[in-house]
């Protein structure tokens, strides 16, 4: 690996890569806005964006403008935020738990968030997006706490964490079903089931103001701890003897993971495979060091979920396929490929 020798060269190197990453992200967002059930010409998209961003006053059909600005732009931005957040959650959990299978889905964090969000929706505790997100956060934190306690009681190894996570997911999924069966009417139940599979159709601008700040905050929290995450490679005792305040780092990072997972689940439902597959794909591309892995995974996650959302809108004309179905359809073979290629290379 070539390393810049001087601080100035280093800053230039990081800035260049950062700008390249932002450029790729913007290109992905634009593509996500252009593509859809009704393909809109590039000029219309440009005019709608220019009118809303800096009041360009270009002539556009108000219906097209509405589709683009109120519907596709927030949807694409939320997809980017969710993809990045879930991928980061996977990277952090895989490093801290030291298990390649760890992700918010498998460790029960997503299931806990769903339970919390459904409880708030049905029982009407709190209100609006913040109330649902708050419920999801409490559910996710509770699920992670239970899973961690169970894993510790069972002996505390990396395998125990995944086994406890499976138990935790089952428990919280059962609780969610129980709440739905007990309290929801038929219409509510259908809506919730659809949302649980992952769905971005209801996304509007207020959701963007929740998803993007959380994703950006989570990204910088993870990047700040990149070196600490590297130090966990040989276990938490090794991290500790390398000068990492293990407890503090675990609390901060698990907090960030819980916040990101809960926010994303409360906005778009529980989307599997992103947190598992994207970190492995990114590792495959840029290696295991977190200084590069974290930006790569965040970018790959954002681009992947934008693409998955586009596919979910276009796959069956006139019908929206749940995005969780698309991520699994792409994710499962992708994961198989990484497993096989990884073994050949190692």
């Amino acid at each position: 690996m070539i390393r810049p020798a001087t601080p100035v060269a280093l800053i230039a190197h990081v800035a260049l890569r950062g700008m390249a990453g932002v450029a790729v992200l913007l290109a992905a967002v634009l593509t996500g806005v252009i593509l859809g059930e009704t393909p809109l010409p590039w000029a219309t998209v440009w005019a709608a964006l220019a009118n809303n961003l800096w009041g360009a006053g270009l002539p556009v059909d108000p219906i097209d403008q509405g589709i683009i600005w109120s519907y596709r732009v927030p949807r694409t931005l939320v997809a980017a935020g969710c993809g990045a957040g879930l991928a980061l959650a996977g990277v952090v959990l895989q490093a801290l738990v030291r298990n390649a299978l760890a992700d918010p889905y498998l460790l029960g964090v997503s299931a806990g968030a769903s339970t919390g969000a459904v409880a708030v929706t049905i029982m009407g505790v709190g209100a609006g997006a913040i109330g649902i997100s708050g419920g999801a956060f409490l559910g996710a934190a509770l699920a992670f706490g239970l899973v961690a306690a169970l894993a510790r009681a069972a002996g505390g190894g990396p395998a125990h964490m995944v086994l406890a996570g499976i138990a935790g997911s089952q428990l919280f999924n059962a609780l969610t079903s129980f709440f739905i069966a007990k309290s929801a009417n038929a219409e509510q139940a259908r809506g919730i089931m659809f949302w649980l599979l992952g769905n971005l159709s209801g996304v509007r601008w207020p959701d963007v103001t929740l998803a993007l700040p959380v994703a950006v905050l989570g990204f910088f929290a993870c990047l700040w701890h990149a070196r600490a995450l590297d130090a966990f490679s040989f276990g938490s005792d090794a991290a500790s003897s390398l000068g990492i305040a293990v407890r503090r780092v675990q609390i901060v990072l698990i907090g960030a993971v819980t916040l990101m997972t809960a926010t994303m689940v409360s906005l778009v439902g529980s989307i599997g495979f992103v947190g598992l597959v994207i970190p492995h794909a990114a590792r495959f591309l840029v290696g295991p060091r977190h200084g590069r892995l974290i930006p790569a995974a965040a970018l790959a996650g954002a681009v992947f979920l934008i693409a998955a959302d586009v596919v979910s809108r276009m796959l069956i004309p006139g019908q929206v396929v749940p995005i969780g179905v698309v991520t699994a359809l792409v994710g499962a073979p992708g994961f198989a490929l990484i497993l096989v290629r990884g073994r050949v290379r190692g």
């Binding site: 001087t6 040989f234 005792d237 000068g243 060091r289």
Partner: protein, 257 residues
Amino acid sequence: MRIRAEGLGWSARGRAIVEGITLEVASGETLGLIGPNGSGKSTLLKLFAGIAARARGSVSLDGTTLSGMSRRDIARRIAFVEQQAQTAEALSVRDAVELGRTPWLSPLAPFGAEDAAICQEALARVGMEAMANRSWTTLSGGERQRVHIARALAQRPQVMLLDEPTNHLDIHHQLSLLRLVSELPVTVVIALHDLNQALGCDRLAVMEGGRLAALGPPREVLTPERLARIFRVGARVLTDPADGATQFRFHCLEDQP
């Protein structure tokens, strides 16, 4: 740097694994830690490193207790090579050695040319420079052990705690490691199984059932009676006619030669 343990103890499930260890290692001294399997050597080293939860007693460096220092400050002074530390990550040898710089870096003080030079020197010290780009998962047990040593050297510590570092090493690398350790101007606590190698330490601490059974110069500590009682072997001292150095020859207690 002087390291002192005062009343160190640790229990698991209500059973005392290590109890009442008080000893001091002088600056630059090499203390060998010996004792049968399960006598508490690894646990004691963890206590010295300050990474065991629920520890009793205290450890101090030049009079400052570890509990009053941050993990980072401790890691700048003490490097610890665990008995078994593995990873499933596809780290390269260089990546693993660079982890040793962790306590000296921060997000605002990133890895620089000087750090790279320190890591390169550490790799050279253990004879691993040619394998710097190899993946951890492709290394043999002995090569991994040498990478761990290089990582500890890259930490630039003043105290090194080594848990059976010669395990898995071929005889050439065992001897060169022991020589490297004795040449380093740092304080060393090293757990060893080979009692003939332990003879090369400045002093030996003998562990038995979690307690300190003896502490002193190797030839005073390793008496035939103690070897029979604690290690359950018979031993005779042989002298090398070339230089007068002595070695043990061990035999089972049942068959007296």
